[in-house]
Amino acid sequence: MRQITYIVTRFDGVKSFTQTYTFPHQPGKTLLWGLITIKETLDSSLAFTAACRAAVCGACAIRVNGQAFLACETPLDGILDRFGDTLTIEPLQNFPVIRDLVVNWEPKAERLAAANTWLKPQDNFSAKEGCKQSVADFKKITPQINCILCGACASECSKLSANSDDFLEPFTYSKVWKFVADSRDKDAAARVKAIVDKGLWKCLHCVECVTKCPKGLAPGEDIARLRQMSIKMGYTDNPGARHAKAFLQDIEDTGRLNETKLSLRTIGMIGSIGKLPFALRLLRRGKLNPLHAPSKVKGHEQIKAILKAVRESEQ
């Protein structure tokens, strides 16, 4: 009889430890089924949260071999094929752990509130009359309304893992974008302005959030949309915006990145001086050639024509 093993990282309020559970395999089951089997046949003290078991309440996200999954909808057989019959089970990363696999969402609720994630309806709408919204405008927010606050995106977010003081959870950025894009909302400008100061340009582009979302949201892309809008609104006086604009400018100028000028344009003269030891290190190995500036690529006039056409189509 084929046996499955979950090595579970547990926490009893005082100490962390792992506990190994082994149970007989059954085909066609989910990750959550494994946890329930352990709880009902081996150890009823194992604590985890689960409710709807239909991938809509977001309660059962856990980490398997370092990757977050929504346990109720993840086929166990697929996971076993991928990792083998012994799995490492941990609570979500980047959340405080209460007990075993149960994490505390209260700090996340506070951070959601700090980002003003609620509708601020336009002045011509009222509670009595409701709102109006076109079919096309409703479509603009349909991916983001499906967020179930499962936390999988936050678990592997590389930036949150490095430092959560100056960055919000990916789902929070998606929620902010949801309201910026909601035609019923009146506060898009203020929301974009506020989010620039809440780590908008610190996302590392690691694409973990997009990969992990069980409901098809792409928080990383919502962050990109917020960034685009922040630039359109003129919030360009920050390294992130300047860095991004430098790339587009270089493509327009020559078609290739000008590495030498990049630092100056992103963080200015003073900032670049701060990076002098780094630059010298590169110079010594021949990695940096301050005299090298790319020349216009062949067919550069095509690039100019394309970018002109892009701008015209966006008028």
Binding site: A51, R53, L119, K132
Partner: protein, 569 residues
């Protein structure tokens, strides 16, 4: 001692709407207690829509038509004055939801779109793709964040403490803090949802739908009204019981037996698949019983066929249920029919609310709203789309009712709440130090088996008598359950144990109500009493605990405009 003027227990649509309304009243301390994180509630599982006569899809629809549909849908057991009050409030309630941020699907004029639903004479079910409950739940949570509602997340209700028929407070288990806490409360709103998990695996409900608030009220002397009326949703996935929304039939899906026949033509020739849920569930079970289903026994099923709707419509209107069918049955409804079977879905019965305008119960200071309550607006069968409507309407009424009550009540009797908390702490110690006994899961599974087999879609006296005996035995064995976890911090085994207690108590009320109702009405279908009996049973069942015994009593249904008539679809 922790104190609240208004404490809402349960964070589904009704609970959050009540908390928001109470907070609006100003000058009161309001708390919202919930046993997980607030957005894990069963409201989020509701898919198809919320009913209101907005007249967007059909200008000829009317509140009166909606009232009649609800009365008829209830098989004439709904109290018609309460129904009128409820239905009249709905169009405004839905427009307010829009204003609060709920993203509704729209029609070509930018108004809230409406679709057809079971038992409705006009398309009045407002929706958001097929995730209506989910978006309402999250919008209400966003509003709670905006208005700074104090949320006690991962706090589990253990007991309502009363003195001489008046609420003194609540004993709760603070899971994150690892302690049992007495709370002095002037007015409580119980919005803890239904109890479908007494059928454990054959239900659409989340694991958390264990009826704790209903049981707590029952223990505090408030009757359970109409417990026997358990709605079986026709289309739960065959393997798991997961809900396939009524919207799948609202958008035109067919139900097929093993002959490929749209069998509803024999049971409800006019409405076909969009007859009321009780009728459709009974039809499916009859087909299976008479050998026209697929598979056998507990694995038997019929088919929900959406293929003719076409890929585009399915992806636009029913994306979530498609994902569920693919994930949990390995079937893509674009290409194949989905195996389905009725699953316990909703408790029409619940806490006996005696004032439909304030949601008050017989105990001063205790209010109830949502699925946990029975007003009764759903009577013997609830229309699809009327539950999301119920929770926003009555959540508001209860929030206001509780706030008004709290303003008028004096300070609570803290000492009795304190005493109750100590008793619970002792109970926790006793239960978790027991060295031998049965497991929670074993008793729970026995309960579920007897309930599905003997108190399910079709009922007879013999089977229900047998069920009653089993339930009584399980209640006795419950005193002997072993919980091998003494850690006070987030003791889920202890919570599961108390949840089982709630389910056992409520299961007994269901069986008693069903045994004593010698007729068939709505979702209560008796093979030995197949007809509706208005002469003897146009009344609500009330099961109450008196001197430790379960007593059955009755109260007449309020009929205003619509005398009971034959119910055909």
């Amino acid at each position: 001692m922790l104190t609240f003027d208004v404490l809402v227990i349960g964070s589904g649509g009704a609970g959050m709407r009540a908390a928001l309304e109470a907070v609006r009243q100003q000058g009161l301390s309001v708390g919202l207690m919930t046993k997980m994180f607030p957005t894990r509630s069963a409201t989020g599982c509701a898919q198809g829509g919320i009913n209101g006569s907005l007249q967007n899809a059909d200008p000829n629809d009317s509140i009166e038509k909606h009232i009649f549909d609800t009365v008829k849908g209830s098989d004439y057991l709904g109290d018609q004055d309460a129904i009128e009050h409820f239905i009249t409030a709905m169009p405004d309630a839905i427009r307010e939801l829009d204003f609060l941020g709920v993203p509704f699907s729209r029609d070509s004029e930018g108004r809230i779109a409406q679709r057809n639903f079971g038992g409705a004479s006009s398309p009045r079910t407002c929706f958001s793709a097929d995730v209506t409950g989910h978006v309402i739940l999250h919008a209400l949570y966003e509003q709670c964040l905006q208005h700074g509602v104090k949320i006690l997340a991962d706090w589990y209700l253990l007991q309502l403490v009363t003195d001489e028929g008046k609420l003194s407070g609540v004993v709760a288990y603070d899971l994150k803090g690892g302690r049992i806490v007495p709370i002095a409360v002037k007015a409580v709103v119980i919005a803890t949802g239904g109890a479908g998990r007494m059928y454990w695996l054959r239900t659409t409900n989340p694991f958390t739908s264990t009826g704790d608030g209903i049981a707590a009220c029952f223990e505090a002397g408030i009757p359970v009204k109409d417990p026997e009326f358990v709605q079986f949703h026709p289309t739960g996935l065959a393997g798991t019981g997961i809900l396939m929304s009524e919207a799948s039939r609202g958008e035109g899906g067919y139900l097929l037996n093993n002959k490929g026949e749209r069998f509803m033509s024999r049971y409800a020739p006019k409405k076909m698949e969009l007859a009321t849920r009780d009728l459709v569930s009974q039809a499916i079970e009859t087909e299976i019983k008479e050998g026209r289903g697929f598979g056998e026994g507990l694995s038997a099923y019929v088919q929900l066929d959406l293929r003719h709707l076409g890929r585009e419509k399915i992806l636009e209107r029913l994306p979530q249920i498609r994902e569920l069918a693919i994930t949990f049955e390995q079937v893509d409804p674009i290409n194949e029919p989905i195996p389905i079977r009725p699953s316990c879905h909703y408790s029409m019965g619940g806490i006996d609310v005696i004032d439909y305008k304030t949601c008050a119960t017989a105990v001063d200071g205790v209010f109830a709203a949502g699925e946990a309550a029975c007003v009764s607006i759903h009577g013997a069968n609830r229309l699809g789309g009327n539950s999301l409507a119920d929770i926003v309407a009555f959540g508001k009424f209860a929030g206001l009712g509780a706030a008004t009550c709290a303003k008028q009540r004096g300070a609570s009797n803290e000492s009795s709440v304190d005493l109750a908390a100590h008793t619970w702490a002792d109970k926790f110690a006793a239960v978790t130090t027991r060295k031998t006994g049965v497991t929670t899961a074993a008793l729970r599974d026995s309960l579920a088996e007897i309930m599905w087999n003997n108190v399910g879609v079709f009922r007879t006296a013999d089977e229900m008598e047998a069920a009653l005996a089993v339930v009584d035995r399980l209640i006795a064995e419950y005193q002997n359950v072993m919980i091998p976890d003494q850690n006070k911090l987030y003791n889920s085994a202890f919570v599961n144990y108390i949840e089982l207690g709630s389910m056992l108590t409520l299961a007994k009320t269901v069986v008693l109500g069903a045994l004593n109702r010698k007729e068939s009405r709505g979702s209560h279908c008796r093979a030995d009493f197949p007809s509706r009996d208005d002469d003897n049973f146009l009344k609500h069942t009330l099961v109450a605990k008196q001197n430790g015994e379960f007593q059955v009593a009755y109260r007449p249904v309020v009929i205003t405009k619509y005398p009971p008539a034959e119910r055909k679809y």
